[in-house]
Symmetry: C2
Subunit: 333 residues, 2 copies
């Protein structure tokens, strides 16, 4: 028998490490160290913060493995250099603005109630509210995080890259998924659907990636908006997990109706194994939905296939986007 | 070069795991599983919670290593059985009531500002406020966690166990430190000093351990109260870390004056090594003080010795209470 009180302590105080991480990103500690500031005095000056505060923060970041410390001087680890230094092409620090936003955290502050009632009953600026500002924050903060899976989707569309395709990007958010299809298929026309306030971010990104002329907007609720029809591809990315299975099924039936006979629905999700406790990142996503939504979930492939079949998709392929925790379900009529 | 985005994700989302842990303790999930409830349906009924909420919570606890899952049935790990089941003698779950209390968490919610200003400027019910209810919560929640170090202190007092000794227990809180001395020294008289509201908890514990007749109260501020004098032992447990070095020094001078010529000040602290990034638990405590106090810290032994020497203690011994993260400093004139 092996007992480890440190394991409990570490889990219980995890929120303290998250807070240190958030403070470091907000104060650009990693960026300033990457720019050559090595001592607490230099880092503090560069960050516009008190040396005592920086000293405690940099030591904490060292203990939790995000900095190295040697002879009183700090340096970035390979991981923090790649992802937390704003001068890195693969900077991911902005995701803290969404993942640790007050809107996201309050669901976890009230998690005991969500467990008791089987779902979150958060009111106001919640994930399912119309025009929720949460999704503007999401669209701005999470685009870099989504680039990996967005770049992997086009190869699964298949066919001649030069052909004309009509693509619907459901709950487009930052727009990156549709935009990456537009980049890979130079004659694709993208229709991005989301709340009007969120679409401003997608429009900015479409311009940034040079596809504005092929990027069209459908503002409104994905459940109420008229999609149009004859789509070759409908992207349903990180959307279904917010809803219960019946809602997902009727939504996918609407997607089905908007597709050409040989069209594909491409659903991106966190898909745990049937045991629901592996792989870790996929399995843990279920808790995020418990905290944030009334009835959302991380669905297994068996569950997703059942929804798709009930929605009229007879062929469903499961493609894990290794090494990412995201999975693609490609569905055809 | 090895980069690991999962490391960043895990630190950033640590607050989600803390929240799952807190919900599980509050709903007594571990206790109910320990009592034989194995399926989500049974656990949900025993906990008075929705099965869906429990299912997501138990799966999360499995992923983070606090439960086992096999064929849809859950069981406690050795660690969760020892420390998180209320039927265990070594139950530590109550500590979540203090460590994750709103009073503690708000300092971390505002950590960026604390780093910027070099200290917390939390107002109201803060750690240094008179009669702060925070310390009543602390006294109730943290007694089990302190039992280990409290039981290790008496052996370092030394001398005949039957002799009469007069012991001052500074910021007694739960009173456990003084009470354990009273248990080990049957003729010891304990004087417990703390805010009046906090001392009610110490008084309850003195009764529980059968030492009420030798447990006396000094209500008030440790800085302002008249200690009396001729003490053989003054216990200064987890107190100095709330204050800056000058305040600690003048406080220890007051302690010095209250001691007999051969008396001992016994200071319990989280004491990191001079590098300030090891051992991990001691080093990480500094962040807790940044979040919660204007100028507190986890002091190194070199810093503590300097305070003690300036306060008139010429002999200072450093005794790590292995395997706990707490260290004893025994100081004599």
């Amino acid at each position: 028998m092996h007992v480890d009180p440190q394991q409990i302590w570490q889990i219980m105080t995890g929120f303290q490490h998250s807070a240190a991480f958030k403070a470091a990103v907000e104060l650009e500690v990693f960026t300033k160290i990457g720019e050559g500031n090595k001592t607490n005095a230099a880092i503090a000056e560069a960050c516009g913060a008190a040396e005592r505060g920086i000293r405690i923060l940099t030591d904490t970041l060292t203990v939790i493995g995000l900095l190295n410390k040697s002879n009183g001087e700090y340096s970035l680890t390979d991981t923090s250099a790649a992802f937390l230094d704003k001068n890195s092409q693969t900077y991911l620090g902005s995701m803290v603005e969404f993942i640790m936003s007050p809107a996201q955290r309050r669901g976890f502050d009230d998690l005991t109630n969500a467990v008791r009632h089987g779902g979150s009953n958060i009111q106001g600026e919640a994930s399912l509210d119309p025009e929720s500002p949460m999704w503007v924050t999401f669209a701005k903060a999470m685009a870099p995080m989504m680039m990996g899976s967005a770049q992997m989707i086009p190869e699964h569309i298949g066919g001649d890259r030069d052909r004309k395709i009509k693509v619907l990007d459901i709950a487009a958010g930052h727009g990156i998924f549709g935009i990456m299809v537009a980049k890979a298929f130079p004659n694709a026309e993208i229709y991005a659907l989301d709340w009007q306030n969120v679409l401003t971010v997608a429009t900015e990104n479409a311009a940034k990636f040079g596809v504005s002329d092929r990027h069209h907007l459908i503002p409104g609720s994905a459940f109420e908006a008229d999609f149009g029809d004859d789509y070759d591809v409908v992207l349903v990315t990180n959307f279904l997990h917010h809803f219960d299975a019946d809602t997902c099924t009727s939504f996918m039936a609407k997607v089905n109706r908007s597709l050409k006979s040989d069209g594909k629905a491409m659903t991106l999700e966190f898909v745990p194994n049937d045991d629901r406790v592996s792989p870790p990142a996929e399995a843990l996503f279920s808790l995020v939905m418990l905290a944030a939504t009334p009835a959302g979930d991380a669905y297994t492939f068996a569950e997703l296939r059942a929804m798709m079949e009930n929605a009229g998709f007879s062929r469903n392929e499961h493609i894990p986007l290794v090494p990412l925790p995201q999975h693609l379900i490609v569905s055809q009529k």
